[in-house]
Symmetry: C2
Subunit: 123 residues, 2 copies
């Protein structure tokens, strides 16, 4: 979304996230980690895709679970495929609600910016 009233190209940016007791508990980045876990069925592979260490990904998950008081990722150890991980239904619910909220807000942000900064004041 751009603006035609200024010499340079103006854009609107926004960010939305969830907190528990003032600490971040869900964001776009955490959502990407969840998607990667769903895709790979593995925290290790998901961490690799995100460019973070397994330890860090695990830390994020543990912090989210602790702050929310719910289990978000179920892990299985060993087995033919060397264990695996999957999102719990609570995690899927959180992910889908967050993304729905974010999608709706992104649209609102663009719409309001367009109305105020691009279209100009009503005559």
């Amino acid at each position: 979304m751009t603006d035609n009233k200024h010499k340079h190209r103006m854009e609107i940016r926004s960010k939305v996230w969830l907190e528990v007791d003032g600490k971040p508990v869900f964001s776009k980045g955490r959502g990407m980690l969840f998607h990667a876990i769903e895709k790979h069925g593995s925290i290790n592979m998901a961490a690799r895709e995100m460019g973070i260490t397994y330890r860090r990904a695990w830390g994020y998950i543990k912090a989210m679970e602790e702050r929310l008081g719910v289990k978000l990722v179920e892990t299985r150890k060993g087995g033919a495929h060397g264990g695996g991980a999957e999102l719990t239904s609570e995690a899927k619910d959180l992910l889908s609600k967050f993304e729905s909220l974010k999608r709706g807000l992104d649209q609102q942000v663009d719409k309001r910016f367009d109305k105020l900064f691009v279209a100009g004041p009503k005559k």
Copy 2:
């Protein structure tokens, strides 16, 4: 806005800002600086209220003016009151539009969060 489905108190947070060519050009913090300039008629006093140096406040203003290609703060040197500063009409317009946009979005954020996370899914 809180959520009653999890053990802990969940809240939604959001941030909105304007960029030009990928660089921040207006935000809540810059808006506070503008308000302080309006109130005190002085960049120096405004900076003091914000807890930043004059040099820093001046840097913010210059960067905004450069990125937007418009004059935002008019300064007068010397005189009986040792100079002063005031917002241009462009700056007042930018401030009021940004705040209107932010207010509208804050309401939307709360509404959407309430609908998705507090009220629960429709039966």
